[in-house]
Symmetry: C2
Subunit: 182 residues, 2 copies
């Protein structure tokens, strides 16, 4: 039937849109890097530190939605530029406490949001209702996509959910309360 065919075509179109969005984010990250000497992910980390104060490396990874290994590399570069400080926790020497230096605080206060300024401006011109609609649609896409990651592992092992996959589920469910259906 035609409707079934149409669903497949939405898939491709949606994938293309997502790819273009990802590309735009990446291109803006590079623009940021050349203007403010900070990439998008670096700025996201600095902003999180600015907001939360001292954070462990792992907590930062969770908040930034990045893996532990990725955070290490980003922190290496931020530390090298003296934007952050790393210090092993006295309580638990496995943990690494990350904090902003004055230089880092200065940098984050001068940098724009890690999102295209023009995009923000255009977004701001839209009525709040429309902005909420965009956020709602994005969240529904997130939920549909992340559900896959949760279900996939048990599907493969064909056993009950592992402690690991439950951690993932808890992590992914995050802070987003179900938005009201329009």
């Amino acid at each position: 039937m035609a409707t079934v065919m149409a669903a497949g075509q939405f898939d491709e179109a949606i994938l293309t849109s997502l790819r273009r969005i990802m590309r735009a984010v990446d291109l803006y990250s590079r623009q940021l890097a050349s203007r403010h000497h900070l990439t998008g992910p670096q700025l996201v980390c600095l902003r999180l530190l600015h907001k939360h104060g001292v954070m462990t490396s792992g907590h930062l990874a969770q908040e930034a939605t990045l893996s532990a290994g990725t955070i290490t590399g980003i922190l290496d570069r931020l530390e090298q530029r003296a934007y952050i400080r790393r210090e092993r926790s006295a309580d638990d020497k496995r943990q690494v406490k990350v904090s902003l230096t004055d230089t880092g605080r200065e940098a984050v206060s001068q940098a724009p949001l890690p999102l295209q300024e023009r995009f923000q401006q255009r977004l701001a011109t839209l009525p709040a209702t429309r902005q909420q609609e965009i956020l709602y649609v994005l969240d529904s896409v997130v939920n549909m996509m992340e559900a896959e990651a949760v279900d996939a592992a048990p599907l493969l092992t064909s056993g009950p959910a592992t402690a690991e996959s439950e951690d993932v589920a808890a992590f992914l469910s995050d802070d987003t309360p179900p938005p009201p259906r329009p």
Copy 2:
């Protein structure tokens, strides 16, 4: 004003959603790679070749929304596995004509869409109206974001558009005919 504050909060939430979507796409790409020995971008390229037949490297880059340099790396790996063939064009020896091998055709016919299967399934359960709404919102985000990349450079230099920024604009405009020189 409260509405202004709210706009800022949407920014952060939208950025977070986008980051999570990008992460989900990346994680699925790795899942694909371990199950089908093809990453998302590799599969996107193979599917484009399957759809269009022989393509130049540049045309492939445009269709996949990737830069020329990125395509080279992906083609290197696909060629190494004998999924594609590269051949310099006889007409214009600068161009490289890329085509699927039988092995590549086989691979692409067996691989799923480069989008989470579960996501596709969930999407399919939604009414067509809702699917269209999602696509419409994603496209509006794409447009707001890509407009930034085009406008940003001239805004900063506060002078006439450079040749460089025009190249970017032309590339991003994608299927639109090249803009006339002022």
